[in-house]
């Protein structure tokens, strides 16, 4: 089902995002031995700023199809935040299975660094705060939320971490250990942007950005695009299927949630997974913050809620360990393309499954669990990928 894929990641990309899109799509098509005319489905995602700093685009699917000369008969627009790429892969798979399209091109990513540049260095100063608020609303209650000073979305995950520590005694050192284990994997991955030795002490000694989260527990926004093609037929890639799938959407603003904020919607998406987790060879877990990975692993059922701190101490989550997690180093070390997308974890699953993870390959990666998590813990998509026999 996966016919081709390609990605580009840069700390800051100077050209147009259309250059990144065109290059990655061309490479993905080359791998699949296809041309633009062979593509009959397009799925993309869109966030403010990611297409060359544009605040709004009316028809993102057309925007990409137009530029590349693609004539789709099926399109979809997926906005699942950090779960977007994973959800797109599932929807493309489903569209091909149902016959809505034969070969679906998925394009995800952009220039997230432009958001930071425009918000912090001006460019939006011609607009009043109220005008920006009305252009970019996140929920119906923004005027009662954005009046307060915060570091959204870091503030939310910092509050999750604070509460996890209060309820279960999870320590800064235990969260730091997760970051250290992921860095170990990154050190074997030549594409990781952040490499070098890292100790628990280094993480703890890095600046506290928002209590209790330290700088080295937070992913860094970068520019980047992933293009992949899902379709009928064979390619040089290994035959890949989605063995099991679950998703969950929690639209509530986090102050109105019935469940404790230490839970993520993964607790629901994981319930739909019909696969023995002991048979998973690698876990690719969305990691904008250390606390996200820890709460996702709990909600997947690898350990009970509240026991992840001990779990991280007692298990080896590196590529040489018993439970390999974020085998390429994750977004914490690769960077976060387009500030939320889930590209890194999905591509790492493609690489592992195809024995293409140079230097950080897990032996016999036949079953890979990918868990996307997005928004403010509002969207989760869980997939087990493998080969149906």
């Amino acid at each position: 089902m996966l016919l081709g894929f390609s990605s580009r990641y840069e700390k800051v990309y100077q050209g147009s995002v259309l250059d990144l899109i065109a290059e990655t799509v061309k490479e993905a098509l080359d791998m699949a031995k296809l041309e633009p005319k062979d593509i009959d489905g397009v799925i993309t995602t869109w966030l403010p700023w990611i297409f060359d700093g544009t605040l709004a685009i009316g028809f993102p699917e057309n925007y990409i199809s137009e530029y590349l000369g693609i004539r789709p008969r099926f399109t979809d627009l997926v906005q699942y935040g950090g779960a977007s790429a994973v959800e797109m892969f599932y929807r493309a798979y489903k569209a091909v299975k149902s016959g809505e399209a034969d070969r679906v091109l998925c394009v995800i990513g952009g220039k997230g660094t432009l958001m930071k540049k425009q918000l912090r260095e001006g460019g939006l100063e011609r607009l009043s705060e109220v005008e920006v608020l009305n252009i970019l609303r996140n929920n119906p209650f923004d005027e009662f939320i954005r009046v307060y000073q915060d570091m959204d979305p870091i503030s939310f995950y910092a509050m999750v971490a604070a509460r996890h520590s209060k309820l279960y005694g999870t320590t800064d050192e235990q969260r730091a250990l997760l970051a250290v284990q992921q860095r170990y994997n990154a050190n074997s991955n030549e594409r990781a942007l952040f490499r070098g030795p890292l100790t628990v002490k280094d993480v703890i000694n890095s600046r506290v950005v928002s209590t209790p989260l330290h700088l080295l527990e937070i992913t860094y926004p970068i520019d980047g695009v992933l293009a992949f093609i899902v379709g009928k037929g064979t390619s040089q890639l290994r035959s890949m299927d989605i063995i099991s799938y679950g998703d969950a959407v929690w639209p509530e603003f986090f102050a109105e949630r019935d469940v404790d904020i230490v839970y993520t919607p993964t607790i629901e998406s994981a319930k739909k997974i019909d696969f023995n987790l002991n048979k998973i060879d690698a876990f690719e877990i969305y990691d904008a913050f250390t606390i996200m990975v820890l709460t996702e692993l709990e909600d997947l059922g690898l350990t009970e809620k509240g026991k992840i701190g001990k779990f991280v101490e007692e298990n080896d989550l590196t590529i040489k360990g018993n439970i390999p997690v974020n085998t390429g180093g994750g977004s914490l070390n690769m960077g976060q393309p387009a500030y939320m997308s889930g590209i890194i974890i999905l591509e790492e699953a493609f690489l592992q499954f195809n024995n293409m993870a140079k230097g950080h390959q897990v032996n016999g990666a036949d079953y890979i669990l990918v868990n996307g998590l997005g928004g403010w813990n509002t969207h989760a998509t869980t997939l087990v990928i493998g080969e149906k026999r």
Partner: protein, 122 residues
């Protein structure tokens, strides 16, 4: 009342230093963020109530803002059962932690319009 009328009433409550919330008279659900219908039963039979303004910290995080000041943002669970995301104002950072009691304090942040904040109870 339609949504804009409810929002206007909220702003008037704030300027009188009163903390509003909404109770559904059909199903009894209480909520803070303004809606013209109950999100549990879609009833339009809603009453705007006045909260005592007292509650406890559900979670919080401290950071340094652009001006170099330590700022606290948190989730406050009010005694009436709803939760508000707001800044906590205090000179005693050590008093701010999960489960600590806080009370509402109003502050003008937009010209002519006050908003609810929270402060520690000593």
């Amino acid at each position: 009342m339609n949504l804009n009328e409810i929002i206007q009433t909220y702003y008037e409550y704030f300027n009188k230093e009163k903390l509003p919330y909404i109770k559904c008279t059909n199903c009894g659900y209480v909520f803070y963020y303004p809606r013209a219908i109950c999100p549990k039963c879609l009833s339009k039979k809603l009453s705007i109530m006045e909260s005592k303004g007292e509650g406890e910290i559900y979670s919080e995080t401290k950071f340094v803002n652009e001006k170099g000041q330590v700022t606290i943002i948190g989730l406050i669970r009010l005694e009436e059962g709803f939760m508000i995301y707001a800044n906590i104002l205090t000179n005693r950072l050590e008093d701010v932690s999960i489960n600590k009691k806080v009370k509402v304090k109003f502050k003008e942040v937009i010209k002519g319009q006050k908003f609810p904040f929270f402060t520690t109870i000593s």
